[in-house]
Structures are given as structure tokens and as C-alpha cells.
């Protein structure tokens, strides 16, 4: 190491000379981030969005971050509590949980001056649902009547607009759902339901290169793949005005580099502290480090299309496996406490009133090697004799925890060949193998909530043939309870019905809950009032620049 250090010093001297000679040091990163106060600009790290930036086409955090800044929908999730609160919605009325009348507040405009009307919503939703537009979030509109005609599973669509949507006045429209769904209005805070201005349809390419919305920020400048400069929109009529001058989102090739830049003072906010730096983050940033729960749960899912896993005996094995995993040790050592051992199948961000129930999993999630060993042997042992946990090796450092989980299981069973990790090269290939039902053992599954509702943690994942029911689990009792919960007009009883359904998931151990994921962020001493919302996205409009 001595040699390397000497060399670096040599190189350093050479470069220092070269830099001095050419007279062009670092300097001037990003566009004009000069003053502080209300005009100060926050410099934040960003990842290159995977899809074009359209509300109904953005399904990952990086694109969602921008939509959250430039759009406001009918509802907005409170950044602290996660509760759906009215934003542009004056009121949403229903008598039967199927037909809704939506009134849009007056006085709101897009940043180009165009008024936000009922039509802005209805057109946007029709656009999002239309199969011809290839929107990846189209399924968000699946509960609206007429979806099957606009977006059939196979073949060509027979309609261009949803029959369940009707504009009834300048600021009012009605929605007819195809089934009863009592908490449907609470889903409307999701970005896919944002209103869109005419400019979106008239000149789509131009809109994509510089999106126009109705949120507290406007896009000043967007260089795809490298930087987006957002500036505060002075005319924003909402109550959650931005308390800074704007945000510069800088794309980083590697979150380690972003972290280095933060430490060096060239960046104000990193909302994804790299795993390798978690140990140092507290000391490096002297307290300017956030680690708060987010609506993300990690589980191990099972392939129920494989007969061996779909027996009453296998349920015992799954429960046994769950008890064989030492969650606390893994979250403490591998994740540096940025994960919390899971004791149910939802997330703490829902809060007790929203349906989170600590300890719902009960003994089945406690580390108990003796009971685990007994249960697994009662259930006839691991199907196929060996447990292979499949994961993708390209992102997210999944290898470490999968190996740890396997270790835990192997130690319990006293057999160091009982469980092995089975890496898949890329995420796409991993999803591919799941989609083609090729897996024969458990696989890693992560669920990031779309909206903070208990329904969102259960129905898409465990309902028969639901969109993210990758293991193809099916249970009539669970389906029945979910249907009843959705039909219930009283939120409280609906939630307790959902919890009963969650009990079915527990008794069958449909998926092994591992841990709740936290959002982690670090920030510079230039900014204050930094918080992460339940989606682990920074609440940019609250940040103050000093």
C-alpha cells in the first residue's frame, strides 16, 4: 500500500502542476447555484430514469421524484403521516363505493397558464389507460369501468376512452368503477393520476424534453441522462409552496461518487447512501444523516406453480424456514440497521390506523431454531432436498443477505448444504425467469407501495392472478376476505377485514416476510428541513437553503 500511496502523491503533484499551468481547476459545477435563502438551489443526486417521463409511464423512484415536484393530483400523501389528503380535489362523493363524483378545485393552472379542469384529468386518465400509448402504469386504471375495452389482455382495443369516465361540468366529472372499491379515492395521490395540459398531446416530443405540470416546481432545463434543473414556480397556487429557489438533479454514474461529492461539499443531498458507506455516514456527516422507515417490504416468495410447494405439508416447511431466519442479526450486521425485522406483511408507515399491525406474524417470524427444525421435518423436509434462493446479482447487493439467510437456515438444520443462493446475472433475466415460471425454489421479492394503503400490500401480491402475484399463490378464503374489505364502505371495518386476510397469508406462510426497508439520505450543512416521505423520496419543497 505504501507504493500505491507514493504513486498517488506523484500523480497528485503532476496533476497539480498541470492544473495550475492550464489555469482551469474544478470550479463551476452545475448551473448557477449561487445564493442561499429563498433563492438557494438544492443540488441533489439523481439516477437516470429508465422510462420516458410521463405520469402513467413512470414506475421507478427516480422518475417519480420529478413527477412529485412538477405535479399535484387530486390527492396528495402527507409526507409525514402518509395519509391521503385532498390537493386539487374539492370533494369526492360516493354513496355505493362504485360511482364517484369528483369536484376539482377552481383557480389552479398549469405552469404554462392553462387551467386545470375536470377534462385535464379525464383526458390524462384515458391516455394512460389506452393500450396504444404503451403506458407501463396503465393497470392503475383497471378498476375504472370500460378498462377491458381500452386495454384488453389480448387483441386490439375496441375503444379509445374509458366508458366509466364522464365530464359533467368544467370542474366536475364522474367515475364508475367496475367493482366496489371503498378506498379508491385514496389511491388518487399516485403520480399516474396526475392531470395533463393540452401541450402534452399537441406536441408530445416537446413536452417530454421539457415537461410542464402544475406542481410547485417547473422544469427550467433538462439534459437527458445528465441533469435536470427545476426552479420554483412563483405562480403556484397550492399551500405547499417551495421554500427554496429550486432543485438541480444531477445524474450520477455511481452512488459512491455522489456520496464522495456530498462529503467534498459539491452536493447537498444524496437520497441513497451506498451500503458500503453506511458505517461512516454518521461520522462523515455529523448527524446530517436520515434513516427512516419507507413503504418497502422485502420477502421471500415461493413458486406455487411447482406442485412440491403447493401442498398443506409445504406450508409447515415454509413456516419452519421463516423461523429459521435470524432477522435481527442480519439487519444489524449486513444492513447496519437500515432495515427493521418484519413482523407482518405491510409496513410501519401505514400506522396502526392504516392497517399496520406489529407482531401479526407472531411466533412464525421469531427466530427459533429448535421449533424451525421440528416444523421442517414434520412437513417432510425441504421439497427437492435443497433450498435454492434466486436473486439478481447486478444491483442492490442482494448476495450478502441471501447468503446470510442461507447461513441462518443451514445452521438451524445443521447441514451446510441445505440452502444455497442462486444468482441470476441481470434484473431483466431474473424477472424473465419469474415470468416464465422457471423457478423451483424461493426467490427474493420486494414490494414498494404505490400508495399507503393496506390494500396495496396485499391485493396485488396475494390475490388470485393479481398483477404482482409472481408465485401464483391462490387461496379462496383470502380472495373472499379482500373482496369483502373492498366492498366495505367503512374504512375501519375494511381495514380489519384486510388484516383478517393477512392472517390467511400468515397461516399459509404465502411469502416469508423478511424486513421493512428504510430510506437513507445524507445532506450538507447548506440545507435544513430535510425529510424523506413514506416513499423514501426527499420532500424537496420543504428544504431550506441557508
Amino acid at each position: 500500500m505504501r507504493g500505491a500511496a507514493t504513486h498517488a502523491k506523484w500523480a497528485a503533484c503532476a496533476v497539480a502542476v498541470a492544473l495550475a499551468a492550464t489555469g482551469c481547476g474544478g470550479g463551476g459545477s452545475g448551473g448557477g447555484s449561487g445564493g442561499g435563502g429563498a433563492d438557494g438551489v438544492v443540488r441533489s443526486s439523481w439516477g437516470d430514469p429508465q422510462n420516458p417521463l410521463e405520469p402513467a409511464n413512470t414506475n421507478e423512484v427516480q422518475g417519480g421524484k420529478v413527477l412529485d415536484m412538477i405535479f399535484r393530483g387530486l390527492k396528495r400523501y402527507n409526507p409525514k403521516t402518509g395519509k391521503a389528503e385532498d390537493a386539487l380535489a374539492e370533494k369526492i362523493d360516493t354513496k355505493d363505493s362504485t360511482n364517484f363524483t369528483v369536484t376539482v378545485k377552481k383557480g389552479w393552472t398549469f405552469s404554462n397558464g392553462e387551467k386545470v379542469t375536470a377534462k385535464s384529468f379525464v383526458d390524462a386518465w384515458n391516455y394512460g389507460a389506452d393500450l396504444k400509448n404503451n403506458q407501463k402504469n396503465a393497470y392503475f386504471f383497471q378498476y375504472i369501468d370500460g378498462y377491458a375495452k381500452v386495454h384488453p389482455d389480448t387483441g386490439q382495443p375496441t375503444a379509445r376512452t374509458l366508458s366509466g369516465l364522464k365530464v359533467t361540468g368544467p370542474q366536475t366529472f364522474t367515475v364508475k368503477l367496475s367493482q366496489r372499491f371503498s378506498t379508491w379515492p385514496d389511491t388518487l395521490g399516485y403520480a399516474a393520476f396526475a392531470p395533463l395540459p393540452r401541450a402534452f398531446y399537441d406536441n408530445h416530443a416537446a413536452w417530454l424534453s421539457k415537461p410542464v405540470g402544475n406542481g410547485p416546481y417547473t422544469v427550467q432545463n433538462y439534459t437527458k441522462g445528465s441533469q435536470m434543473s427545476l426552479r420554483t414556480w412563483k405562480g403556484y397556487p397550492g399551500p405547499d409552496k417551495a421554500r427554496n429557489g429550486g432543485v438541480d438533479l444531477k445524474v450520477y454514474t455511481d452512488n459512491n461518487t455522489a456520496y464522495t461529492d456530498l462529503v467534498a461539499g459539491n452536493l447537498d443531498l444524496v437520497d441513497d447512501v451506498p451500503a458500503a458507506q453506511l458505517k461512516n455516514a454518521k461520522a462523515d456527516l455529523s448527524g446530517r444523516y436520515i434513516n427512516t422507515p419507507a413503504g418497502i417490504i422485502q420477502t421471500l416468495a415461493f413458486p406455487y406453480y411447482d406442485k412440491a410447494w403447493n401442498t398443506p405439508q409445504a406450508a409447515k416447511v415454509r413456516t419452519g424456514l421463516s423461523m429459521a431466519i435470524n432477522r435481527k442479526q442480519i439487519t444489524d450486521t449486513i444492513f447496519q440497521k437500515t432495515r427493521t425485522p418484519a413482523t407482518d406483511w405491510t409496513s410501519p408507515v401505514l400506522g396502526a390506523s392504516g392497517g399496520y399491525k406489529a407482531g401479526l406474524c407472531g411466533k412464525a417470524c421469531d427466530y427459533d431454531p429448535a421449533a424451525a427444525k421440528k416444523l421442517i421435518s414434520e412437513g417432510g423436509g425441504i421439497p427437492g432436498g435443497r433450498l435454492k434462493i434466486t436473486y439478481n446479482a447486478d444491483t442492490g447487493s442482494h448476495k450478502e443477505w441471501v447468503d446470510a439467510v442461507c447461513n441462518s437456515i443451514n445452521n438451524t438444520l445443521g447441514n451446510d448444504k441445505a440452502c444455497v443462493g442462486s444468482p441470476v446475472g441481470t434484473f431483466a433475466d431474473f424477472r424473465n425467469q419469474i415470468g416464465q415460471k422457471k423457478l423451483t425454489g424461493p426467490f427474493r421479492a420486494g414490494w414498494q407501495m404505490d400508495y399507503p394503503l393496506i390494500q396495496n400490500f396485499l391485493q396485488p401480491l396475494y390475490y388470485t392472478n393479481a398483477s404482482s402475484n409472481d408465485g401464483k399463490w391462490s387461496n379462496p378464503q383470502f380472495d373472499k376476505l379482500v373482496n369483502e374489505a373492498n366492498a366495505d364502505t367503512d374504512t375501519k371495518t375494511a381495514i380489519s377485514k384486510f388484516q383478517q386476510a393477512e392472517g390467511v397469508v400468515r397461516d399459509q406462510m404465502a411469502a416469508i416476510p423478511l424486513w421493512y426497508q428504510n430510506g437513507s439520505a445524507g445532506y450538507s450543512d447548506r440545507i435544513t428541513h430535510v425529510e424523506l416521505n413514506p416513499f423514501s423520496v426527499p420532500v424537496y419543497n420543504e428544504i431550506k437553503v441557508s
Binding site: 507504493g3 500523480a11 496533476v15 492544473l19 422510462n51 396504444k132 441481470t426 424473465n432
Partner: protein, 307 residues
């Protein structure tokens, strides 16, 4: 000469087709890219089918390849998954990487050859030994170690430079990354030049030149260096392509949005259009650089003739 160039250009065609076909197949073997597009959930089947059709992924591979090549020859490199044209991605990425490569090559040529000449002329002296030791260290330490160390010391500890390069990537900010990128090749250039010079310094024509009473600098530059540069030029020529394609590590460390970054993203997202497009251009760069090197031989040593 003209005939030689034409023959070489014609030889490029099969190499070009072979290389692109290989890359195309390799990316294809990795699996279905659409599966990863919808995040941790399944795309709904209808959208999936529609996307597959739009990207032409529903056709057999040979047909995809033929369509793709047909488009390439008309200058259309397809569309990346984020909706951008691949040609636009290239237009932003290549200038940056070319700048980075130029910085690296300039370091290689100037520093490498100067060190090589000095050590070659002073064989066995302390200067020679210490430079040799230094090159040994540089070759032995992997690029990412040098890169991260330089970034940590100069960027974070001493504040001489910014630890990351801004998105415009002006030349000044690329000096350190360029040096890091060049470091290993630079050491090789030094060693190649040194041994070549050391060998030729005792040859008859150098003795003749000295005996004629030519000034020392003229002997070195016109006679000694010119004849010693052939292996060095060969190395530098092939290195151009290697530097551009191999910049992934350096570009990741210093946050440079160049070819390496785009290739990395493309591979991660299994975006055939991006990967094949960029590799195609890199193959062309490599082939052209090789041709130029071969042609330079004749300039350096007129005895070399092309039939």
C-alpha cells in the same frame, strides 16, 4: 499504397459484420429485456406484447439482426428504452469520451515517450531504475485503486479538483481522469520506448549521425526516435480503441457521462439497441485506428512498402 488502403477497407467489412453479430447474439442470450422494464412487478401482458412489437423483439433473432443492420446503414441506430434515440445518446457520449481519450493519449505520448527516451539513454543509472520501479507500481495497481485514491486525496482531502466531473465535462476537469485512464498504458509506452531506444542507440546509423557531427537533439529526434517509434505507435494505435471502450471504470469513478456509462446502463437494462449501437461505433474506431497505424509505418520508415 492506394490499393493497399482499399484492400484494408474491404477487409473491414467481414470484421465489422462478425463483431456486430457477436454482440447482438450476446445481448440476446442474456434474456428478455422487456421483463425488467416494469420494475419489481410483471408488466401487464398487453403492454408487454405491445412494447415487444414496438422494439421488434417479437421476431426471430436473425430477422432482428438484419432489420437492425439495415437501419444502421441508413444512419438509424434505433431507440433506447428511455425513449431517446440512440444516435442522440451517441452525440452526447462520444464527444466526452473522445475528449477523455485525447487527454489520455496526449499523456501517453508526451510523458511516456519523454520518460522512455530519458531512461533509454541513461540505462542503468538511478533515473532509469526509479522510473522503471514507478512504472512497475503503476502497472501492478488496478485503475480503480488509482482512480479512487486520486479522487479521495485531490478531491476530498486537498480540494485541488472537484471529485466528480460536471455534465458538460470540459477539458480542464478531464485532466485527472485522463491521467488515471492513461496510467497503465503510459507505463507500457515508457517501457516500450525505453527498450527500443536502448537497442537502437548502438546501431550503425546513430554512430554515423554522431560522427557526421550532427547536434545531439537532431540525432535523437530525427534518427534515433523516428526509428524507435514503430512498436510504440503500434501500441498507442490499438490503445485508442481500448481506452474508449475500457473507460467504464474511470467514467464510473469520476461521474463522466461518456461511452462507458452508456454501455454500462445499456448492459444493465439489456438494451440491445444501445449496446450494439455503441459497440458498432467502437469497432469502427478500432479498425480505423489500426489502419492509420499501419499507414504511419511508411512515414516512419520509408523502407516499409505497401503492395
Amino acid at each position: 499504397m492506394g490499393r493497399y488502403v482499399i484492400r484494408r477497407l474491404l477487409q473491414m467489412i467481414p470484421v465489422f459484420i462478425g463483431a456486430t453479430l457477436l454482440i447482438f447474439l450476446m445481448v440476446n442470450v442474456m434474456g428478455d429485456p422487456i421483463a425488467g422494464l416494469c420494475g419489481d412487478r410483471q408488466c401487464d401482458p398487453a403492454t408487454e406484447a405491445q412494447l415487444r412489437k414496438d422494439f421488434g423483439l417479437d421476431k426471430p433473432v436473425w430477422q432482428q439482426y438484419l432489420t437492425y443492420m439495415g437501419h444502421v446503414f441508413s444512419g438509424d441506430f434505433g431507440i433506447a428504452f428511455n425513449g431517446q434515440k440512440v444516435i442522440d445518446l451517441m452525440a452526447t457520449a462520444f464527444p466526452i469520451t473522445i475528449r477523455l481519450t485525447i487527454v489520455a493519449i496526449v499523456f501517453e505520448i508526451i510523458v511516456g515517450i519523454i520518460f522512455g527516451v530519458i531512461t533509454g539513454l541513461r540505462r542503468g543509472r538511478p533515473v532509469d531504475t526509479s522510473v522503471l520501479l514507478l512504472t512497475l507500481v503503476v502497472i501492478a495497481v488496478p485503475t480503480f485503486v488509482t482512480g479512487l485514491l486520486a479522487q479521495l486525496l485531490l478531491g476530498v482531502k486537498w480540494h485541488v479538483i472537484e471529485p466528480s466531473v460536471s455534465s458538460a465535462a470540459p477539458l480542464g476537469e478531464l485532466i485527472l481522469p485522463g491521467l488515471v485512464l492513461a496510467s497503465v498504458s503510459l507505463a507500457y509506452v515508457t517501457r516500450l520506448t525505453r527498450s527500443s531506444i536502448a537497442e537502437n542507440v548502438r546501431s550503425d546509423y546513430v554512430r554515423t549521425a554522431i560522427a557526421k557531427g550532427l547536434p545531439r537533439h537532431r540525432v535523437i529526434t530525427r534518427h534515433l526516435l523516428r526509428n524507435s517509434l514503430i512498436p510504440v505507435i503500434t501500441f498507442i494505435g490499438t490503445d485508442i480503441g481500448a481506452l474508449m471502450g475500457g473507460a467504464i471504470v474511470t467514467e464510473r469513478i469520476f461521474n463522466i457521462h461518456g461511452v462507458g456509462f452508456q454501455l454500462y446502463q445499456g448492459i444493465l437494462r439489456q438494451n440491445t439497441q444501445t449496446v450494439v449501437g455503441f459497440v458498432t461505433v467502437l469497432v469502427i474506431v478500432f479498425l480505423v485506428a489500426n489502419l492509420l497505424v499501419d499507414l504511419l509505418y511508411a512515414v516512419l520508415d520509408p523502407r516499409i512498402r505497401y503492395a
